[in-house]
């Protein structure tokens, strides 16, 4: 017995380890995105996020204060300041004043400037430039330092998205607009699909198998095929671009999966209950409302999560059926794309926006996740 127990525990360890490995692998990109959302664009461009969490030795180019800040002390013109001003303090080890010789001087040394005068840089980043003549030029002297700096994070990205009036107005508008798109686009297909699924699962009529096959067939049709014809159709019947159009489109694109999923679940419900009810004289509608719907709740919930996430994150369908050139309608995804700029260069905003737009779906997911697995497995395992 000891033997067997021993083998067992070894296997358990293997399972735990591989689960831990998979979870870490799965979370890795998200953690990276999260860390990046607290960094500036320049930081993201110059070093990986995994380096940002530890003190690191960095080569920096920092400008000393501009000549117009010089003060006269006796015969000398002096510029003083702190190289780490406006960033987290570090420790300078070596430094230089030429891009070709960035480590010529140790902290505390004094260097001769090319244009006359001297500069001294201390380990704590403070510096003093002295000159017998006035410093000229409009930009400060460049100092190349090699410094150990502590991790530095900023909430500026979140502030610019949520508090900056230029962005936050658009984001708030987009948030409500997205809810206006998402909620009906989740409810309508579920209602229709529940009726259809019941009919396909429990009502006897000719051609039922063919209909089910057709629904399964529709699952593989890419929605891109339908974009232009459907938009033309909307324009012909007078809906045009707008909320109604995007609700209809999401409903249409979501229905095949919804019907398929719900029908498979409902077919698995015990036949006895339904037949008993029929014997007792219940109509199909009563059976549907009083028996099937309550029993199908896990499946309904799991599909609701799917549909909600998909419509929340959708950009394509919204751009085609909702966002018109009057600029009155928008969605979160569109707003985020706009924040990225014409050439998509604002990476820091991308990471931040991802987390802000993720908040609602995550809340929905956690509120309903216990139904998700149950609903998904339903119909596949009996």
């Amino acid at each position: 017995m000891d033997n067997i127990a021993g083998t067992k525990s070894g296997l358990t360890w293997a399972v735990h380890l591989s689960v831990a490995f998979l979870v870490i692998l799965w979370l890795f990109p998200t953690v990276g995105l999260f860390v990046s959302s607290f960094r500036t664009a320049d930081q993201i461009a110059t070093s990986g996020w995994w380096k940002s969490m530890f003190p690191a030795e960095q080569n920096l180019v920092i400008r000393a204060a501009a000549p117009d800040t010089q003060v006269q002390q006796g015969d000398l013109y002096v510029i003083e300041g702190d190289l780490f001003e406006g960033r987290s303090a570090g420790t300078v080890s070596v430094w230089g004043i030429s891009s070709r010789a960035i480590a010529d001087y140790k902290a505390g040394d004094t260097a001769e400037l090319n244009k006359g005068g001297t500069i001294t840089v201390n380990p704590d980043g403070t510096y003093r430039m002295e000159n017998t003549e006035e410093f000229t030029g409009s930009r400060g002297q460049r100092v190349f330092i090699t410094a150990t700096t502590p991790p530095e994070f900023t909430t500026a990205n979140y502030e610019s998205m949520l508090l900056d009036p230029r962005n936050s107005e658009g984001m708030t508008k987009a948030f409500f607009s997205t809810l206006t798109v998402t909620i009906p686009s989740t409810v309508i297909p579920i209602v229709i699909a529940a009726f259809a699924a019941y009919a396909l699962a429990w009502m006897e009529f000719p051609g039922r198998a063919l209909l089910i096959a057709a629904v399964v067939g529709l699952l593989v049709v890419p929605l891109q095929l339908a974009l232009i014809p459907l938009l033309k159709f909307h324009n012909v019947i007078g809906i045009g671009k707008g909320y109604v159009g995007v609700w209809l489109a999401h409903t249409g694109f979501g229905l095949p999966l919804a019907i398929y999923l719900l029908r498979n679940y409902m077919v698995g419900l015990p036949r006895d209950i339904i037949e008993n009810a029929k014997v007792d004289g219940a109509t199909d509608f009563q059976i549907f409302v009083k028996i099937i719907l309550p029993l199908s709740f896990p499946a309904l919930a799991s599909f609701a999560i799917f549909q909600f996430l998909w419509t929340w994150n959708d950009l394509l369908v919204a751009m085609v059926f909702l966002v018109d050139s009057t600029g009155e309608t928008t969605v979160m995804t569109k707003q985020i794309v706009e924040l990225l700029g014409t050439r998509g260069g604002n990476w820091e905003i991308l990471a931040t926006a991802a987390f802000i737009s993720m908040a609602v779906p995550i809340a929905v997911f956690f509120a309903m996740q216990r139904y998700l697995v149950r609903g998904l497995l339903a119909g596949s395992v009996k």
Partner: protein, 448 residues
């Protein structure tokens, strides 16, 4: 509940609309051509909605809005600008689906030409063509670039150019050049000598990045076009763009190899030749600013300062010089550029008026006085440029002996925004220039 939501959405929209409503420069002040603004007030478009759809987002969107605001203010029209990062796909869907905006702003003339051929654009009146010929520097060439074959095959003037980019620029850090004792090269021979000298000094001369998501490869097409203009005469360039000169001609292959001289040598490029295709074009200029510098020069169009580190002052922290021409070839100073085309996709009186507004100096000056705007309009006050760099770029434009439009934008989409891009990625990755050119020519033949 839904009504509440809709009401709050509408309310927010109103607030957003109100926030825009102010003119960037007060009428009557400064050296702007305010006459053209006053003249606009005679046009009354109150209550008319004009929708404009273009590729500009973020700061660029604010800039274009600041220009349109003058039109709104003067005519009372309700002009709406919306931007999209997938403009090229979106405009096709909208127009085909029957919900076209009034005016579309094309970043590439090729797509405008396609849509004109399908009868989806409204030709501009003859006066606009005459006006462009008269008032734009090299006017006829701008008219030619905006003239496409209509649905019946006859040529008509559809596209009006507004906002131009110069592409033949090399960006560098003046202080790094100073530290190393390098001079700004005046000729291509000097530029190549400088490249070799930097290598001899143990440093890396160039930062080149071709990555751009789905459009990866386009920066290399600009290199090849610039090299075409520096090794062949403009007529040959024009023939190449229309495929009267086959893509696999030895002249084109030679231009591709000129690019290869810079990009395919491990010593010439930061990160080695292997990094060229995988580096994002937005990240590649950052090597100029690192300590120690990863590279000394970066060839890119006039928009690239957007991707420089925050706080960079152009003209002091970083500067540019004209991507020089060969002294021995006697081809003058060719300049490669690009521009955006305005075209009417859904005709209305307001749309026609807005196109007329774009011809007025004020429409150019308002953007000029801010940032990132060059114009061939001869009637504007060039003192108004927001910063001296823009003026310097405009001078490059004006001093050009030859101005040629970005060739890949003029080629059919399947080549200019397809196989030319991917071919250049293959070439940067080590493929043979002749093989790459043959493949691009094959793809072009297949489109005919």
């Amino acid at each position: 509940m839904k009504l509440n939501l809709l009401a709050s959405v509408a309310g927010l929209a109103l607030i957003a609309g109100a926030a825009n409503a102010e003119l960037r420069f007060a009428p009557g002040e400064g050296a702007f051509n305010w006459d053209s603004y006053e003249a606009l007030k005679s046009v009354d478009l109150s209550g008319e909605q004009i929708t404009v759809f273009g590729p500009w987002l973020g700061p660029d969107q604010e800039l274009v809005d600041s220009v349109l605001e003058y039109f709104r203010e003067a005519t009372g029209a309700d002009v709406r600008y919306t931007g999209s990062d997938s403009f090229e796909q979106q405009i096709v869907v909208d127009v085909e689906g029957g919900s076209a905006p009034n005016i579309a702003i094309y970043p590439q003339p090729g797509l405008a030409a396609d849509m004109a051929g399908r009868g989806q654009l409204t030709p501009l009146p003859q006066e606009t063509a005459d006006w462009t010929r008269e008032n734009y520097a090299a006017g006829q060439s701008w008219v030619d670039l905006g003239t496409y074959a209509g649905p019946g095959g006859e040529d008509e003037y559809y596209g009006f150019f507004y906002k131009v980019d110069v592409k033949s620029l090399v960006w560098y850090i003046p202080e790094n050049f100073e530290d190393a004792g390098y001079e700004v090269p005046e000729t291509m021979e000097d530029l190549k000598a400088l490249t070799e000298q930097i290598v001899a000094d143990g440093e890396t001369p160039w930062c080149i990045g071709l990555g751009s998501g789905g459009a990866t490869g386009w920066p290399a097409t600009d290199w090849v076009e610039d090299m075409m203009l520096r090794t062949q005469d403009p007529a040959t360039y024009d023939m190449w763009v229309t495929n009267d000169l086959p893509f696999n001609d030895e002249k084109v292959v030679a231009a591709i190899e000129e690019f290869g001289w810079f990009a395919r040598n491990d010593d010439h490029v930061a990160g080695g030749a292997g990094a060229v295709a995988s580096t994002d074009f937005r990240d590649s200029p950052k090597g100029l600013f690192s300590s120690p510098p990863q590279c000394y020069m970066h060839r890119q169009a006039s928009f690239i300062p957007t991707f420089f580190p925050e706080g960079t002052v152009i003209g002091e922290d970083a500067d540019f010089f004209y991507f020089p021409a060969y002294a021995e070839k006697d081809l003058g100073k060719p300049v490669l550029g690009a521009g955006t085309v305005f075209a009417i996709t859904n005709d209305s009186p307001g749309a026609q008026e807005l196109m007329k507004f774009l011809q007025s100096p004020i429409a150019h000056e308002v953007w000029m006085a801010q940032s990132g705007f060059l114009t061939p309009h001869k009637g504007v006050n060039t003192d108004l440029f927001g910063d001296p760099t823009l003026k310097k770029m405009n001078d490059i434009l004006l001093n050009a002996d030859t101005f040629r439009f970005d060739g890949s934008d003029l080629m059919p989409g399947g080549v200019g925004a397809g196989t030319f891009w991917t071919g250049m990625v293959d070439y940067a990755g080590g493929a043979d220039a002749q093989t790459v050119a043959d493949e691009i020519q094959n793809s072009w033949d297949a489109l005919k």
